[in-house]
């Protein structure tokens, strides 16, 4: 069937099998690999994207259900040019903090949540990060001045196997403060 979804403001059309999940459409048809498959069972939140501004688990939505609608992925968060970092685990940089600017990334173009995640070390392997960012983006739009408990509650459906969550919660609170201005 033909499915057309506006992803990060760009219409993406594809002739796909009816069984195609929104996650597969975003990754394989649109080529945006930020959303990840961590469970395919609507449990882990790694695949979270925004559908018409509301967070969904893209592994548990058919592309057909999103036909004609708008999707936002992690690639849509930063404005301007966010150069992909080549081989971020090169030996020389292990254990050395290298500011993003030194890697050719314009920090000013990051979304406040991305900036706060970077500063607070809110990611390790990064597998959960895209889902965390989009879940938090939708949450902070609704609850601009949350308590720590509210942030934890908002992340109920997003699992992180690395950080222990504290740094993610801290980053969310920092971003919220900055976004309130």
């Amino acid at each position: 069937m033909k499915v057309e979804i506006t992803i990060n403001g760009r219409p993406v059309a594809g002739e796909v099998d009816e069984r195609t999940l929104l996650l597969e459409f975003v990754r394989d048809v649109a080529g945006l690999t930020g959303a990840r498959n961590g469970c395919l069972e609507a449990r882990c939140g790694c695949c979270s994207v925004l559908l018409d501004g509301q967070v969904v688990k893209s592994c548990n939505v058919l592309a057909a259900q999103a036909d004609g609608r708008e999707v936002e992925t992690v690639e849509g968060l930063a404005t301007g040019d966010t150069t992909t970092i080549e081989d971020p685990t090169t030996e020389g940089s292990v254990g050395t903090y290298v500011p993003l600017s030194a890697r050719g990334v314009d920090e000013g173009s990051l979304h406040p949540l991305q900036q706060a995640f970077h500063e607070r070390g809110a990611l390790q392997c990064g597998y959960c990060t895209a889902g965390m960012l989009l879940t938090l983006k939708e949450f902070l739009a609704r609850v601009p001045d949350p308590t720590e408990a509210e942030v934890r509650e908002a992340l109920r459906g997003n699992l992180c196997r690395c950080t222990g969550y504290q740094s993610i919660v801290d980053a969310a609170l920092l971003a919220a403060e900055r976004m309130r201005g």
């Binding site: 069937m1 099998d17 009816e18 069984r19 999940l21 395919l40 069972e41 609507a42 449990r43 939140g45 979270s48 559908l51 509301q54 967070v55 969904v56 688990k57 548990n60 939505v61 058919l62 057909a64 259900q65 879940t135 939708e138 949450f139 509650e153 908002a154 109920r156 459906g157 997003n158």
Partner: protein, 292 residues
């Protein structure tokens, strides 16, 4: 997943025709939050999916004449955000109760897609909707080729994933009574993690008289049993007692003694699920006292 055709009817009649055409091979899809899990695991393999999302009549909410009609495709999100019931002046605070229950189901991402009717038709014992709709004494309107019939909650939920729906029929409305009088509601559940479905759950509805004595009540247990089950013994015991003075411990002991758990696995056995009931009914009672 097995291959399927995906149909998008625009109206109720068209949707009914689509599901009635080859009923044994067809599944309606509302939010897909339960259905897609079953398709991915190949627990089910319908050849046709009929999307209810484009059927406006199934997503409407209206009130009046002592009842509130909730379209089956109304999402948890629309209810939790206060949109769905915004235009309805509920006299019994039943909308507030349903909103509290629904805002605490699964997580925000699931609530964006999941619908009240989908959860009712899925009829899993661990789900909150069947228990909540039973305690509010909801009616279920079922539409089929031969017209529409109304089924009471205790007849609608038949067992694990079993409802009164026949093949080719659609749930077309959930009718929630909005009774006069001073009704109070409470719900409590216990799952393994915050976003997990319940091992046991308890819902409570009480109407009190001018002296705050319980005049009428319903206590419904879920999770541990195959379908939402009333605890009639505890209900009788509650009648006539001043709501503020009910000894929650005693009610808990009675409930644990009355309910016969039917479900349980190796990790969370029947006796464990029974042992949760006293704390759950105490929490449900506290909510009913505090929130009205």
């Amino acid at each position: 997943m097995r291959p399927f055709e995906y149909l998008t009817p625009a109206g109720l009649e068209e949707a009914l025709e689509a599901v009635a055409e080859r009923p044994e091979e067809t599944a309606p899809i509302a939010g897909g939050q339960s259905l897609l899990l079953e398709l991915k695991s190949r627990e089910r393999a319908p050849a046709r999916l009929v999307s209810l999302a484009g059927v406006e009549a199934l997503g409407a909410v209206s009130g009046g004449h002592g009842e509130i009609r909730v379209g089956p495709t109304v999402t948890y999100r629309a209810i939790a955000d206060g949109e769905a019931f915004a235009a309805i002046a509920s006299r019994s605070a039943v909308t507030g109760f349903l909103t509290r229950v629904i805002a605490n189901i699964a997580d925000r991402a699931v609530r964006t897609m999941a619908t009240v009717g989908g959860a009712a038709c899925q009829a899993e014992p661990a789900f909150d909707i069947p228990v909540a709709l039973t305690v509010v004494d909801a009616g279920f309107e079922v539409a089929g080729a031969s017209g529409t019939r109304r089924v009471a909650a205790h007849e609608f939920f038949r067992g694990v994933k079993q409802t009164a729906l026949e093949q080719g029929e659609l749930l077309s409305a959930i009718v929630v009574p909005d009774p006069a009088g001073s009704w109070r509601w409470g719900f409590a559940k216990q799952g393994m993690r915050a976003h997990d479905a319940a091992l046991s759950s308890v819902a409570l509805a009480v109407r009190v008289d001018g002296e705050s004595r319980v005049e009428c009540c319903r206590i419904v247990v879920g999770g541990a049993v195959k379908r939402p089950s009333r605890a009639y013994g505890c209900e009788t015991w509650l009648i006539g007692r001043p709501i503020g003075e009910v000894e929650a411990e005693k009610l808990g002991e009675r409930l644990a003694a009355e309910v016969v758990p039917e479900l349980g696995g190796a990790r969370f056995g029947r006796e464990y699920r029974r042992s949760l009931l006293p704390a759950l009914v105490r929490r449900a009672l506290e909510e009913a006292r505090d929130e009205g």
